[in-house]
Symmetry: C2
Subunit: 725 residues, 2 copies
């Protein structure tokens, strides 16, 4: 126990009394007052003191998945849910994980020097002296020993390795040194492996999250020179989850792949290092000056190598099946108890995890407490609210993926929405991504949350910023009426637990958080002191997160008609498709000549037509729902609530995306070569990247069919709304 | 004498024998063969050895305007022209200049330390040990002593000072520390002065031209940590030229302003420093972390100050009237001797000036030698070619401006085109800016020049690169035919000697050079060794520059009908206007509300209409010229050659631009707040920046009138072409 509570409730935290709350979507006139009253109880419940306390407890020790410490935290979370009055459950899986046994990295030329694989202990920060924190290692990184010349390959993206080839420099038999950023680290290691490197070292360049972005820890929020970004190097965009049970749950007795059989983990060893250590290698590199965009923020001109520097690395992993624990709390629904609204947050961390993920866990616990208070006051949702605390997310979304695979049939049939919260707070800037069907309910929910520093609501500030970014980035076409701003949610890529729900199961999903300057990601300095000094000193954004999360859950769970809306679905996808279409035009412009069978001759007409059909169907559906609400038609409501569930499942294909069949959503997927960042219309994007007209044709057919099927299901639902059947 | 000639003629320097040269624009069928033969003599003349020799001689010593060394270089240039067989002339003016007597800069807090105001002597570079190079100072910088707290203001642009105000930090009574880049340094000092700073220090940040851009001198072409960027701090975008005779020539007996009466020079002292010295101040600065975009390339998080660092500065200038020398060489025209094509390059340098400007001087001398060879072979131009070697460009385009003001009437009546060459070579990348009427003749001329390393012609590579940049940067508008690439020349801003000709006198102008990595600008390392090691080791781009320059001059001077073409003039200006129009739409998008009298309600219709009229008139003119050429109509040719001269003078207004009446061109001017970078349609741009609808209305009227007058003159010329009168 080291928590000293201080009074940090600011005046701005008191909720404004709104003269007239706007009516929430999906509720009959007759239900609104009770819902708003229950929401008020929920909104008034979260406090900075409580979130601060949860965070302090959760982050007392480092709690990597598969370690005893993480089981302690699982039980702490379960106990809190029990305390709040929720029904709870712990679901254990035994999954393939690795922990470092011994790691070492040594500069062997031009001089010998052991490189540090642990952060500095800082006097002002007791957690930086904590025992039990793992040194530098990568989740799912391979064991091995190697030494050799070093070659610097920028971010280690496919484009960077291609550029290296153009420079006529090879990493074959050498050590690839790359910096963090641009793409998921697993993509970097896969590329290095494919290029023949014997080892990859990934360091944090100060340009990306060190001193060039702000004052460094402990004086500021950015990366200390000794800070190491741990993390998973699974090939996440190919397939997440336990690599020993690809595509099926890690139940007792499940068939297991051996490590060498696993297709989604690297075969070459890799290590993350700090920029202070990386500098010792980079400064010595010979060879050519790097291409300009490869220069980072260390104070000298970067060279590609090889020559000048050589290193020796040794990595020994303790790997095998280890237990993980997903913790659940339930608020049972009254009229549709089998249908679920799932609020998921992961709990495991690479170190203490005060931001990632336990700022989310603290806000998620406070959300559970607040919703429980509403239940205590007499409120009861129609659908069941599931609070899910995932384990082993950091290794590859393992806890959520195994559970999603385990419960696939039930989730497919009954999950209305999956609401994800990973890191809740690194600063004051609200951000949210999600499927377009959730836009309106998200918008209404965030508009209920006071902005704790600026006044007004978080929703207002968010929408204003979105509009500003739109004004800046949307092209101006002269001599026609200017485009109108329409609010869209960000696209979801991958990198957190919504992946199995959206990309594998087709469930409407969202992910949110409050952002700011954050340079201690996955380092030992991602701890309570950092949050208290820089991230959210008053814990006021933790409270805002809980308020939004709770409101959204209560509306989705309690609405008389599920508040998914489809009018903006077609237009939102159209904007994403247009990005791809413009890229094709640019490629046409730059092409010397265009082969007859080039993808650049491909035609978007079918997909565009299907998007129009979808847009019309979405509009009809929303109108039908509005009419049913207006009529107070309970029979129609019930019919719609049944008919709405399969709508977005229409976007799934049984055989999945090319080379990664686990990803079954033809609209939403992470980029195969980005790992995190989304690739809307993944098959079409891949066809354009690879200049593969046949793939484009197949993708166009599949996307068109999926969109038309989704439109058909919308029409079915509209008909049900009209007839009440 | 330190020149050791080595054989550097590469095989690729041999001109390819073209099966059929494309016919040059402006020549009768009957004249083409002789012209091409003469051009061949010219093209075969320049050699790497000669340009190398000229450069070695020109850069033997630093030669700042107003010093005895610069007179020596003037005479060297004159003697070469004589040697080539040209008629020569030296025109002297006495103009206001300053040289540093004593400069010092001292850190006085947190510790005392004298800061260096001179570059390091490098063993490998004997010029770095040269005597007679001035230490850090600014041309037209003020004398004075001051001390105080330091505030960092990024690039010191108007926007940066505005941001500083928003941060509630003042430079009043303090010392502004800014970095080079973004805008002309005179703008920086003017802004600091207006904000109440007592001193401005300008340093070269390694992000901008130091190690972050490449290897630093002496190992690479970029800025050494000790390198200082000297330069003028005149308020160039308000008015260039001798500040003691604003708007009129510095002839003997001219009325002179005293320094305190001069409106275009700073009143506060300023100094340039290196990044090694700047680091000693910046590291100590307290106060807030800078706005993100203010961070530079030094290895720590920048702070704004004040607090932490204080400095003391003392500057004492030797200032007053000093002699400058413009050197001229003439190739007299046969049929229209009073009409001129002027090839201008400046000669004065802040140090040795191997790039700036004497790579240009070497290429310019070689051009003169090559054209003289053509004359020697029997070729004779219709119009007079004037080779002009300007002095005191570095202080504020002084030599060219005084001469332009001196000969304004003659130039207005008789100058067909002004062709500028400042720094000729820093690398292999050809770039050119100019008025649209010169596009076609430039395009034809550069297509005659072999690319010395890549093969093909410089023109091919240039056009391909232009097309690539267009493909990348031009927006894609879906669902309509894609835009077609049309080659346009870059816009001319200011910062070199074309300014008086284009912006003050309305003479078609162009400026060109071969670019590459260049970080030693205005430092002691801009010397012969730099050029030989990095800029143009084989002097092959110097030769390419001479070939292009010579071809262009010979075509403009000898064409039967002056090869100015106007079809693309309207469309080129339309592209520039559209940039401004799109900015207005973006401002409208971002505006909270738009006042009735806001400039955002202003209307571009009149200017757009005038551009259409201009485009049509240009098309008719080009057709009329083509027809006259086709007919071999000498009477029409003569009439056109007379009628073409006043066409672009139509863009001048007698009262000039707002707050800077010397700038009389309503289309072409440097940005008032950029100094170098162009602001096409300056009055409209200024109206938009200042939200001044009245200025917009006045500007729109003046621009419309000017464009319509230009169209009228084109029609007059077309009529002359038709009738032969």
């Amino acid at each position: 126990m080291r928590v000293i509570l201080t009074s940090v409730v600011a005046a701005t935290l008191v909720l404004p009394v709104l003269a007239s709350e706007p009516a929430p979507t999906g509720f009959f006139e007759s239900s609104i007052a009770a819902q708003l009253a229950a929401e008020r109880v929920m909104l008034d419940t979260p406090t900075p003191q409580k979130t601060r306390r949860w965070l302090a407890h959760l982050t007392e020790e480092a709690h990597v998945a598969g370690t005893p410490q993480e089981k302690v935290v699982a039980e702490y979370v379960r106990d809190r849910l029990v305390e709040f009055g929720l029904e709870t459950e712990i679901v254990r899986y035994d999954v393939f994980l690795n922990h470092p046994k011994e790691v070492s990295l040594k500069l062997i030329a031009p001089v010998e020097e052991e490189l540090s694989l642990m952060e500095d202990v800082l006097d002002v920060d007791k957690d930086s002296a904590a025992h039990g924190v793992f040194p530098a290692f990568h989740g799912y990184g391979a064991s091995g020993d190697a030494s050799g010349q070093v070659v610097y390959v920028n971010y280690g993206t496919p484009a960077d390795f291609k550029k290296l080839e153009e420079l006529d420099i090879s990493v074959e038999g050498r050590i690839a040194l790359v910096r963090y950023g641009s793409v998921f680290r697993g993509v970097k290691v896969r590329e290095a492996e494919n290029a023949g490197a014997v080892v990859e070292i990934i360091y944090s360049d100060p340009e990306d999250d060190g001193y060039m972005q702000g004052d460094v820890y402990p004086d500021g929020p950015m990366r200390h020179p000794s800070a190491i970004q741990r993390g998973s190097v699974q090939f996440l965009s190919v397939q997440p989850g336990d690599p020993s049970t690809p595509g099926y749950p890690s139940r007792d007795g499940a068939t297991r792949l051996s490590r060498s059989q696993m297709k989604t983990v690297p075969q070459i060893p890799s290590l993350p290092i700090s920029y202070r250590e990386a500098e010792k290698i980079l400064r010595e590199l010979g060879g050519e000056r790097v291409p300009d965009e490869w220069q980072g923020g260390l104070p000298f001109s970067y060279h590609v190598g090889p020559g000048g520097a050589a290193v020796e690395m040794s990595v020994s992993m303790d790997e095998g099946l280890k237990p993980i624990f997903n913790v659940f709390g339930y608020v049972r629904g009254s009229s549709e108890p089998e249908r679920t609204v799932i609020l998921g947050n992961h709990r495991d961390a690479w170190t203490h995890g005060a931001v990632d993920p336990n700022s989310g866990t603290a806000a998620w616990l406070e959300t559970a407490r607040a919703v429980a208070a509403a239940v205590e006051s007499g409120w009861r949702p129609a659908r069941t609210i599931v609070f899910a605390s995932w384990d082993a997310e950091e290794y590859g979304l393992v806890g959520s993926v195994e559970w999603g695979e385990d419960r696939a049939a039930d989730l497919s049939a009954n999950a209305l929405a999956y609401l994800n919260l990973d890191s809740a707070v690194t600063g004051p800037r609200f951000g949210v991504g999600g499927t377009p069907s959730l836009r309106d309910v998200i918008r209404e929910s965030i508009a209920r949350v006071p902005e704790p520093q600026e006044g007004g609501t978080v929703g207002e500030h968010w929408e204003k910023r979105q509009r500003g970014e739109w004004a800046e980035s949307t092209q101006v076409v002269l001599d026609q009426p200017d485009a109108e701003f329409e609010l869209h949610l960000g696209q979801l890529g991958s990198g957190s637990d919504y992946t199995v729900f959206l990309d594998h199961l087709g469930i409407p999903s969202m992910n949110f958080g409050f952002g700011g300057k954050y340079g201690v990601y996955h380092s030992i300095y991602d701890n309570f002191r950092w949050m208290e000094k820089f991230g959210d000193p008053g814990f006021i954004y933790h409270v805002a997160a809980a308020r939004f999360y709770g409101t959204l859950a209560m509306r989705l769970a309690a609405a008389d008609i599920a508040p998914l809306r489809y009018e903006s679905y077609g237009p939102a996808l159209r904007e994403e498709l247009d990005v791809l279409r413009r890229d094709v035009v640019r490629k046409r412009r730059s092409a010397e000549e265009i082969d007859q069978d080039s993808v650049l001759n491909s035609d978007f007409a079918a997909v565009l037509g299907a998007l129009d059909t979808l847009a019309n169907a979405g509009e009809r559906f929303d109108q039908a729902v509005d009419a049913a609400l207006e009529r107070g038609d309970t029979a129609a409501a019930s019919a719609i609530n049944t008919a709405v569930l399969p709508i977005e499942r229409a976007l799934l294909t049984t055989d999945g995306l090319p080379a990664r069949p686990w990803f079954r959503n033809v609209i939403y997927a992470p980029g195969l070569t980005t790992g995190y960042a989304p690739w809307p219309f993944p098959e079409l994007r891949q066809a354009v990247e690879d200049d593969d007209a046949a793939l484009f044709a197949r993708g166009s057919e599949r996307v068109t069919a999926a969109l038309l099927e989704m439109a058909r299901r919308l029409d079915t639902a509209s008909a049900a709304a009209g007839s009440g059947n």
